[in-house]
Structures are given as structure tokens and as C-alpha cells.
Symmetry: C3
Subunit: 330 residues, 3 copies
């Protein structure tokens, strides 16, 4: 990590490099980001909100080609990346279901696929069902790779857009109280979010989860080691009354297998509804990585503190920022 | 319906509005169109036929992004819309099979999906398997929605291109005799066409259908109430000899379930072949919404009055016109 | 075949024609190419390697629309064509799985589908599961058709990129010794390659294949009739020591059905590994149409004579060249 162009970047952005190259060659995991880097990305994302149709800024990535290589479908994430690329004038090669990629089906390794696809594109956005796939792809590729989720592993752009949304909604990331609610055991978004929050000062985290999906010890230990104050609670109302951010998540049925009884008991336990909104501070916000089922009731949608659709939109700005930074620098 | 910009349009076309805004915010059903509106759309469609590669007209929608959200596959309709957008310089986000949209599969509502996708695009083209889905999407979205078919419901752009083709081929829409042939019970295109024809003067409609798929009473009643002369006939030759337009349709096997005997007897009953062409007036035309099986024989294709492939092409111009009108006005 | 524009081309490239029109209207099979035509295509492909982002050359096909109509998935080939089109400023309509094209599923003929799709696009790239489908499409279409593989039939752009790679790597196509290795019975790429090699002087071909997948007599007879020297060998080491090019191919499991014993014995027989590389001449190259399994070991990848990923990249330049030649001439 440094401010000089890496060989990978240099070979790809020779014609378009701005004054400063982005210190990362690839975006693979939340652990790559420190406060300075987050500030840089969020500043660029903020500029992206103001890119106007027909302006030179809307053509910054003209001539660049992004390949979206999705080994499992995730239409939301795919459309968000593709919109980001096109909003900056770039072009896209799409693979909605690369798992049936004829070559993969015939037994080709991911590395060979990457070596082929990098010949056709300038940046690869990879979604894969195996943890570590993005790292493997990045090690192979001579062009930047963005991890758009690798199985139970990482989904770093989601973590970035979550943090960006908190900053946009509250104005700051230090000295905030955040309630993480729902499926804390399986949700990679809450795990990454907790990790990034630990980089800021005066953060207090509340975990509110059904017993079967409690936050795991590794994150708790990391928070403790980082000096972050945290506690577990079984009372969503009490937590909501104290928090700046309630980050609700879906109980993921697909993780319960046949144990539908466990799923059902966990699912209804912590619902963000108008009673919760009544106690949430006026300046507070409710986030959710989406999709949501009924863990946030529809009546909440019209509350100005319901920020989850703004959050989804922020995913566009974060991805525009990352594409620009990886391909052009800043 | 009025000539002032609605909030929905205003927020989206602030930078590109032409002198007049289109009175519709969304295109949802044939019932939205009166004669004036049809004339406006057809005039713009006619201009679209002359858009030249490399001209400023071919860049009118530059910087706009259309999302094609298809919950059931319809490659013909999808490609037609995407071609229309790209012929005007716009860009496209594609979802070929949104039913497997990870979020929909996880139980997300259509409304939530729309709220997300509208953050990534400027206009949504929706194909859905449920009647009323387009209306639901339009009520939610802050950007224009075009219904590209919602189950047994509406497919308004098909109805528009059918009418446009008749006008292009005959030069007028008043005082025409139209034979609607084939599956009149299940075909939403003939139902919408009958509805739109009723807006013109001196129209005479002949229904020629096997008994099991006769035109339903609601359309007959509407025609009668609108003062449109109509009759049923079992003699395609006699009808063809009197008509300006023969609109043939496919007997839809998928509607017959196990009753293959009924399907087979209905399927072969009314075929447009060279004998029918022999009695069709010289200025007459044969239309078909496609795909066709054998209800129009291949020998007919070379007859200049066989207009069904020109009709398919007109779908492009109608969709270019609608995209321009909804995004820019006129 | 001549140098005057055909009606098909003339109608489509009226605004963009260069001085000379390409003698082919469509690219359907390896048999269409003679030495002069190959030289022309390879010269243009060479120019394509130097097309710079942001240059006028990168906008040559601006305003043109390519439809990729794939009746069987082949992501590698599809992305290569789509990248080629976009690298020249053109746009793409994609169908990843046209076999489920609603119209085809309903019984529409390929000809009717082509007549519809040609209304939406300027050139069609067709991948089909039936031999002869590309010819059928080209006979119907009024726009150029490129065969991107039709079942057991032809895959001419692969043959062109193979030849181009040999020329790029060795500097010439006359007086070369080529070892064709692996599945020579089922591999259409080696069959087409043998066919094209026969057009050059002083070519010597070695066939190295397990007994169950030996090269068929038709190609051997054609080579003999063309005056090409060839022989069969069971000793890959001996052949490699004499060759300028080793063209390795995958044993295609899907061709063996239940006979897994036969597949397994064939699969491991001829492997390109470091021992083979040790005897291959210094100027020699190893090619492979990809995907590869273990018929070339990973240790070979770092050898500068391993040209198979450069070969994949050359597919991009060949397809850029063909798109330009068919749409604009030269």
C-alpha cells in the first residue's frame, strides 16, 4: 500500500491516470481499509452524487470495459455495479450466471477463466460462491478485481456503502452508538460493519440477536482489542432509545436447513416497527442491507429516518467511486 | 392527464425537457390512449424511422439508463426495447430472468425491488407474470414505468405498434374493416387492438375464431357501446374478401392444458394461405403479433401484403417514440 | 466473392463504407477463406491490437448494434465478440440463452426469429446447437451473420484466431511443422485448423491422438489432395522435438457418454508438461483453444512459449477485424 502506481494499475490506466493513484490494486476485503482510505473513498463518492448527465464527469470512464463475472446470481449488486460503470461513461460485459459458464462447467479453473476474461476487459467484478475466490482472482489478474461477495467470505463494497450511509446521514462516524439487529451469526454485512466501525473513536455497539444467530466471538474479541465498547441486549426498545443507528438484518432462512422451527422463532423476535421508531432519537436512522421481509414493517418506510433505500442508492455512489479510483486514480 | 409536467417527470428530465411534456407518466394499459395521444405517438414514431446513425437524433437519450426488469423471459420484446434505447444513444441495464432475482427469490416485494432499481436507472421496462404488476410498480416508482406485458393483463406497446402498423400500411385508421382471426379468447393483443380501434370512426370488425376461443362478451359489449359495427363469422374467405386488415393470431397451446384434442381442432381451422391472399383486396394487409407457427403459411411471406415482419420492426419505432416522450417530452 | 458491395452490405453500411468492401457478406465456415482473404483479415487484426482508448479508431463502429443470439451458452466466445464490438464503439444486444427464447420455445422457426432480430440490429452473431444453422440464418438475413459455432459443424472465428496466433508467434505460415494433439475426432477446431493450414506451402502436420479419437479420413484425404505432408504418431516427445507448433486439445468427456473407461484412458495419454517443453524447439509455441483441464500442466504456463492465453486474446482482435470488415469494409 503506497501512493505510487503499482505495475497492475500502470499497465491499465496509462492513458487516463490522474495525479494520484489509488493505493489499492484490488478491492477484496474490509480489512484493506483504514480511516484515510475510507475518507478518500467517501469524498469521491460524495462527488459522484453530483455527476450530471451530459457533463464531462459522466464520461470519465469512457472507453473502459468492466466484466461482471457472477458465479451466483445477485441482481441487485450486479445492476448497482453496472449502473455505476455506465453513469461514468464506461461499458460492461455481463455474465449473469458464470457458474454455468461453459468453461467452468467443463472443469476450467477460476484462474484460467480470469486469464481469459482479463484479455477482454479493464476491470473484473467477481461474485463467487467460494470464500477466497476474489483473492485468487486478484492474484492471477493483471487488471483490478473487485470482490462483489465471495460466499461466506467478504462483501467489502456493502461494508463501504453502509459506512458511507452512516456518515451521510449523521455527518460523522466518531462517537456513534450503533445497534446491530437480527442475524448476526451469518450476516457477513454486520460482521464487516463492526470491523470498520472499530476504526473510529467513541463507538458503542449493541448486539441484538436471537440466541441461535448471536454475534460470534471473533468479532467481539476484535472489538475489545480495538477498544470498542460493546454489549449484548435482548431488548430492542431499550437499545433503539439509545442509538444513532439501528442496523436491522434479515434472518436468513437458507441458513437453517430443515430447522424451520428455529427459523420461525428467530424470525419474529426483533421487528423494527412504529413502536421502535417512537423511541429512536429524532436524529437516528434505520439501515438494512436489503432485501427485507417483515423485519421492518411497511409503516416505517414513510418515516424520514428510514434510510435503507437511500442506503441502496449510496451503493451506486460507492461503486462509482471505486471504479474511478481503481481505473483512473484521483 | 394534462400538459404540465408531473412531479415524476420533472424530477427525472430536468436537464433534457423539450418544450412539451408527455401527458403520461407511465405506459400501463391501452385505456390510457385517446386519439390525440395516439396521433402524437405515431408522429414521433414516424420521425424515429428516419433517425440516422451518427446524427444528433441518434444521441437524444445519451446519458439515460433504462432497466429492463423481466420476470418472465420475452426475448423479442426485451431486444426491441433495448434496441430502441440504444438507437437513441441511451444505455441499458438488463435482467433476463428477474423471477430468479435473488431478492425476489428471498421474498422481497415487487415494491421494494422497484425502489432499489429506480436508484440505478432513469426508466423501468417491466415484464411480469402477474396482472396489475405494472400498475403496482408505477405507483411505487418515481421514474417512468413501461408495461411490457403483465401476465393475462395488458401489453400496451404491442397494441400501439399494431395500430401504428395499420396506419403506416393503409394511411388511415378511420373507415377500415378489420378481421381478427384465431385465438380471440386468450390473446391480449387482439383484445387491446379491438379496444383501440373503437376510438376511430367507421370501423367494422369481424371476429373469426374457433368456438373454444371466441372473443369474450366484454369486448363485444364495449364495441357496441362505442358504436363500432362488429360481427362474428365462421368463413375466413368471405371475411378476407371484405377486409383491409387480416390480423391473424396463434392458437396458444399453453392455454389448453391437457385438452390436446381441443387444441388440435382449433389450431388448423383458420389458416392464412395463398387462397386467402387471392381474395384479400389488393390494398389489404396481413398482420400477426408473432411468433407464428403454421397459421400463416410460408408461401404468404413473399406477398407484399404480408406486413408482419414490418409490424415487428414498427415495434422498434413505437418504443423509441415512447422512450423519448417519457424521458424528454416533445 | 468479388470486390463490389453486395446488396446485403450496401443496405447496411451506406453511411460508413470505406473504400473497399469485404468480399464476404457473412462468416460461416473455414472454407470461405483463401490466402488473400486471410492476409487481409490478419492485417486488420494486427491494426486492432493498436487501437487506443479514446482514439477515433476506438469509435469506428459507433452507432452499430450487434445482436449475440446464443442458442447454447458459450460465455468465452460471447464475451470475446461483445468486447470486440465495444472496443470499436459499437453496441450489443445480448441473448445468453436463446434456446429458451420464448418464441423458439413456442415453435417459431429460426428464420422467423432472424427476420425479427435483423429489424433490431446491424449484425448477428449466432451460436446454435444444430449444424447448418448459421447458413440458414445467413440465407434469411439482410444483415451480416457471423457463425460463432453451430453444433458439430463449424466455428470459423476460432480457426481464424488459431491461424492468426501462429502467424503472430512464428512470423509466417508457410514452411511450418504443426503437431495436432488430443481429441482429433471430435474437435472441430483442429479439423478447421488442418483445413486452413492446407492453404500454405511446405506445411507438415503430425496427428497425435489416442486411438478412440483419431483424426478422421476426410481431413487426411483433403490434406493429401492438397499436397500437405502428414503423418500419425503415438510419440508426443518425438513430435514435439520436430514441431514449430504444438496444438493441444481437451479430450471432450461429453462425447464419451457412459464409456468413462475409454474417456479416462484417452484423457491421460498425451500431456504437455515440462518434459515436452524441454524438447520443443526454442522458437516453438504451444497453443490450446481452451478451456484446458490437465492436458497442459500448470508448470508450462510460465514458459514464454506457452501461447494459449495470448491466443485467447487474439480472438478479440480477429473478431474486431471481422466486425469492421463486415460492417465498414476496409
Amino acid at each position: 500500500v503506497g501512493s505510487v502506481a503499482s505495475p497492475k494499475e500502470a499497465s491499465n490506466v496509462a492513458q487516463g491516470t490522474l495525479n494520484n493513484s489509488f493505493p489499492l490494486q484490488d478491492v477484496l476485503e474490509a480489512q484493506q481499509f483504514d480511516r484515510d482510505l475510507l475518507t478518500l473513498i467517501f469524498d469521491v463518492a460524495r462527488e459522484m452524487e453530483d455527476v450530471k448527465r451530459g457533463s464531462p464527469e459522466a464520461q470519465q470512464l469512457s472507453g473502459f470495459l468492466m466484466a461482471t463475472l457472477f458465479y451466483e446470481p445477485s441482481t441487485r449488486t450486479r445492476l448497482s455495479f453496472e449502473s455505476a460503470m455506465k453513469r461514468l461513461g464506461g461499458e460492461v460485459l455481463t455474465t449473469e450466471n458464470a457458474r454455468e459458464f461453459s468453461s467452468a462447467a467443463k472443469g476450467e479453473t477460476l484462474e484460467d477463466t480470469i486469464r481469459t476474461v482479463e484479455g477482454y476487459s479493464d476491470i473484473i467484478v467477481l461474485r463467487h460462491f467460494e470464500s477466497g475466490a476474489a483473492k485468487k482472482a486478484a492474484d492471477t489478474a493483471n487488471i483490478p478485481v473487485i470482490n462483489a461477495g465471495d460466499g461466506p467470505g467478504q462483501h467489502p463494497t456493502q461494508a463501504l456503502l453502509d459506512m458511507y450511509t452512516i456518515q451521510r446521514e449523521l455527518g460523522h462516524l466518531d462517537n456513534i452508538r450503533v445497534g446491530l439487529v437480527g442475524d448476526l451469526a451469518n450476516g457477513r454485512t454486520v460482521r464487516s460493519l463492526a470491523y470498520l466501525l472499530a476504526k473510529y473513536d467513541g463507538v458503542k455497539i449493541y448486539f441484538v440477536a436471537p440466541d441461535v444467530v448471536k454475534m460470534k466471538d471473533d468479532i467481539k474479541d476484535h472489538l475489545t482489542a480495538s477498544g470498542v465498547d460493546w454489549e449484548e441486549s435482548a431488548d430492542l426498545m431499550e437499545v433503539a432509545a439509545k442509538c444513532d443507528v439501528i442496523y436491522q438484518t434479515r434472518i436468513q432462512r437458507e441458513r437453517f436447513g430443515d430447522r424451520i422451527d428455529l427459523y420461525n422463532s428467530a424470525r419474529g423476535k426483533y421487528i423494527v416497527n412504529s413502536e421502535v421508531m417512537d423511541v429512536l432519537p429524532k436524529h437516528g436512522v434505520v439501515l438494512h442491507p436489503l432485501p427485507r421481509l417483515d423485519e421492518i414493517t411497511l409503516e416505517v418506510d414513510s418515516d424520514p429516518r428510514a434510510a435503507y433505500f437511500r442506503q441502496a442508492k449510496n451503493g451506486l455512489y460507492i461503486r462509482m467511486a471505486l471504479l474511478k479510483l481503481l481505473l483512473l486514480g484521483y
